[in-house]
Symmetry: C2
Subunit: 106 residues, 2 copies
């Protein structure tokens, strides 16, 4: 009933969670550091991380008192594959992808 795609797409539907994923694209991060740029409580971010973990989009590993968040890029692949069926879209839109890198990562 709870299709993995449900979890992935609904996790991706929230802009805060997408921003978190973009941050983790650069490097693994502790929960507190993930929360820092956002104007919301740490508890709220903690919940978002639970959602991302449930979807398999990230993993969390506790070392000492710090819980490290790590991107799990494979989880998006199923969803990506599903979407490819609808494209006469190219596998990679180079212009858009470069624009994305420019905007999102730097």
């Amino acid at each position: 009933m709870t299709n993995p795609l449900d979890l992935v797409f609904s996790a991706l539907a929230d802009p805060t969670r997408r921003a978190i994923l973009a941050m983790l694209l650069e490097d693994d991060m502790a929960v507190t550091d993930v929360a820092e740029p956002f104007d919301m409580s740490l508890a709220a971010i903690s919940k978002h991380l639970v959602v991302l973990t449930a979807a398999g989009l990230i993993s969390q590993e506790k070392r000492g008192r710090v819980k490290w968040c790590k991107l799990e890029p494979d989880a998006m692949r199923e969803a990506s594959v599903w979407m490819q069926a609808f494209g006469q879209m190219d596998a990679v839109d180079l212009d858009a992808f470069e624009a994305f890198l420019e905007h999102e990562l730097k």
Copy 2:
């Protein structure tokens, strides 16, 4: 505020809506025919179609008393592009990305 990606991903998060999109991949359909295979009311399907339309994933055109639903595959493109950064590429490995670009643009 309401990022287009929000609308696309949250539209895709529901299995009924994904099934509708898959049906429309084959051919344009009237609302009643879209609803036929599902075990829920026509009104419920009508609402799902509103959500898909708001996300730009389909369009609806009324001809006579029949409203035709048509897939709009371009809407998924932005979302797909966003995902490419995580799914297909090892984003940490920028060397590989550059190599990819070089090969692709040659």
